[in-house]
């Protein structure tokens, strides 16, 4: 037999439990909006980065696939046609006037045409592109090894990051150009390419023509499309939003190995 007070106590606890759940959930939403709490949460990703660097060798290679694994029609995501008159003029002339500017903390700044980029040591690889959203696609990329280009321009010892400035505006009014950055470890990785071919043909505009970055051990948003200028820096704290990339400035992690 259960007494009345016992039953009402149980009802009270039941309701308290439901109310606590609702409070906890809205509490989590409120915490997400604060300045300090997401920083604590971000420590989890910093730990992931440290541990992943400890267990995966620096030069570990991303998995490569066979022709049979190629995704039919490599998906275009983000910008598929940059709303930028200068870019459109270049595209209209098949990028004959395109020049990739390389500068910043280097001994020998350079400016390369597409033809000159094609003379650099290249690599062809069939790799999987993992989008942060959860989908993936497999494509065959050919491009100049970024390491070969860097050896030509000779990074100064204080250079720590490679910045990629792109042609695609992220705002409707044509401002906020896409940009990204990687560290020197990824920059000199053998699979890191300035890709100019996809699946055996010149890189299509929807996939980042004339040149896009391939940095195979990281998520898709690191693979900057429409690369116009490369700059070596010792810090990106004063560039744009200060987080090292367009999506990083929106709250995504700079290190995207997970």
């Amino acid at each position: 037999m259960k007494t009345r007070s016992e039953l009402s106590r149980r009802r009270f606890f039941g309701r308290a439990l439901g109310a606590a759940g609702a409070v906890a959930l809205s509490g989590c939403d409120a915490l997400s909006q604060t300045q300090w709490f997401p920083k604590i949460l971000a420590s989890g990703e910093a730990l992931s980065r440290t541990v992943q660097h400890l267990i995966a060798p620096r030069r570990a290679m991303a998995q490569e696939f066979g022709e049979a694994d190629l995704s039919p029609g490599f998906r275009s995501n983000g910008t598929s046609k940059p709303d930028n008159p200068q870019y459109q003029a270049l595209a209209a002339a098949s990028f004959a006037q395109y020049r990739l500017e390389v500068g910043g903390l280097v001994e020998k700044p350079a400016s390369l045409s597409l033809a000159e980029l094609r003379t650099l040591p290249s690599r062809t690889q069939i790799t999987r592109h993992d989008c942060v959203e959860g989908w993936s696609a497999i494509g065959k990329w050919k491009g100049a090894r970024l390491a070969a280009l860097l050896e030509q321009v000779r990074p100064r010892p204080e250079a720590r990051f490679v910045m990629f400035y792109c042609a695609d505006p992220m705002e409707r009014d044509g401002t906020n150009l896409y940009y990204e950055s990687i560290d020197m470890e990824d920059a000199f990785h053998p699979q890191t390419l300035l890709a100019y071919e996809l699946n055996g043909v010149a890189l299509p505009i929807q996939n980042g023509a004339p040149v896009r970055l391939r940095v195979e051990r990281q998520l898709g948003y690191k693979h900057a499309k429409y690369v116009m200028r490369i700059e070596l820096v010792d810090s990106f704290a004063k560039i744009a939003g200060g987080k090292g990339g367009y999506w990083e400035d929106q709250g995504y992690e700079w290190w995207a190995g997970i």
Binding site: E45, R75, W247, I258
Partner: protein, 285 residues
């Protein structure tokens, strides 16, 4: 406090019953940390899934075959959205539950899962990832601590590993569960065989699998042993398994809580908070 069979019973206690120290402090603490971590992992995981609410089988999402599971908001005429769920090519209208639901203003809008089932409640991929990866560490460290403790304290060998008697009583245990009949007296102090098997399956199969499939989605960890992800059918298959195992864990929790309710909710809840479980003396005939 050392485990002991006989505890001084309060004056008002029912005759012939006594409190038994059932769950040690480390187990209790790790149990509740696990409750919090798994809840947040599940809710933030559903938010992450909402960024691309489709599951595939294979090495990539675009293999020439369509998704095996998909939740979508489909335009149906002017200003109208319908929630659609597709499973192996079959299509179901799931408006109000999955794909689309009525918002605060009374309009039907695209919404993959109800807001109370995701963390944050609105679609916010970057924030959901922060929650997910922080509590993934909480969960993994807590899980490793539990494993180490369970082996060192012999909790695993003594309380969880089924004995020969357990294996022989498996048929009766199934019948007992179906009839909601639960052990009383001394037998109530131990886990029954189905309970042991369920816990072992969760600890040694489901939880390691869901973590491994999380690893398989990381492009950096994929480089550890090139091609290891293909063992599970490829990266997108791993994502599908991650999702399925997450729901299997939810199914486990539902059964677990159901069993707790039908076999003495307050007694079990107290034993997982204070450690003490009331054992009623066996009724002798």
């Amino acid at each position: 406090m050392p485990p002991s069979d006989v505890m001084p019973a309060p004056a008002a206690a029912r005759a012939g019953s006594y409190l038994y120290y059932r769950h040690s402090l480390p187990v209790r603490v790790m149990h509740w940390i696990n409750v919090i971590a798994l809840t947040i992992l599940f809710l933030s995981g559903l938010n992450i899934f909402s960024a691309h609410p489709a599951l595939y089988w294979g090495k990539s999402s675009y293999t020439g075959k369509g998704p095996i599971f998909q939740i979508a908001a489909v335009e149906a005429g002017e200003d109208e959205v319908v929630g659609v769920t597709r499973i192996f090519g079959r299509e179901f209208d799931t408006t109000e539950v999955l794909g689309a639901a009525t918002d605060a203003e009374g309009d039907v809008v695209a919404r993959i899962f109800p807001g109370w089932l995701t963390l944050p409640s609105d679609r916010w991929l970057s924030m959901a990832r922060r929650w997910h990866f922080f509590f993934a560490w909480v969960f993994v460290i807590n899980g490793l601590a539990y494993l180490a403790y369970s082996i060192a304290s012999r909790h695993l060998g003594r309380d969880l590993a089924p004995s020969a008697t357990d294996w022989r009583s498996i048929g009766r245990s199934i019948v007992d569960h179906l009839r909601f009949k639960h052990p009383t007296g001394e037998a109530a102090k131990r886990y029954n065989v189905l309970q042991k098997l369920a816990y072992l399956a969760v600890i040694f199969i489901l939880l390691p699998l869901v973590v491994m499939m999380g690893f398989a989605m990381s492009p950096w960890l994929d480089t550890l042993i090139p091609g290891w992800v293909d063992f599970f059918g490829g990266r997108q298959s791993a994502r599908t398994i991650h999702f399925i195992v997450a729901w299997l864990l939810v199914a486990f929790v539902l059964v677990h809580v159901f069993e707790v309710i039908v076999s003495g909710f307050w007694n079990h809840l107290r034993s997982m908070i204070t450690g003490r479980y009331r054992v009623n003396a066996e009724v002798r005939k």
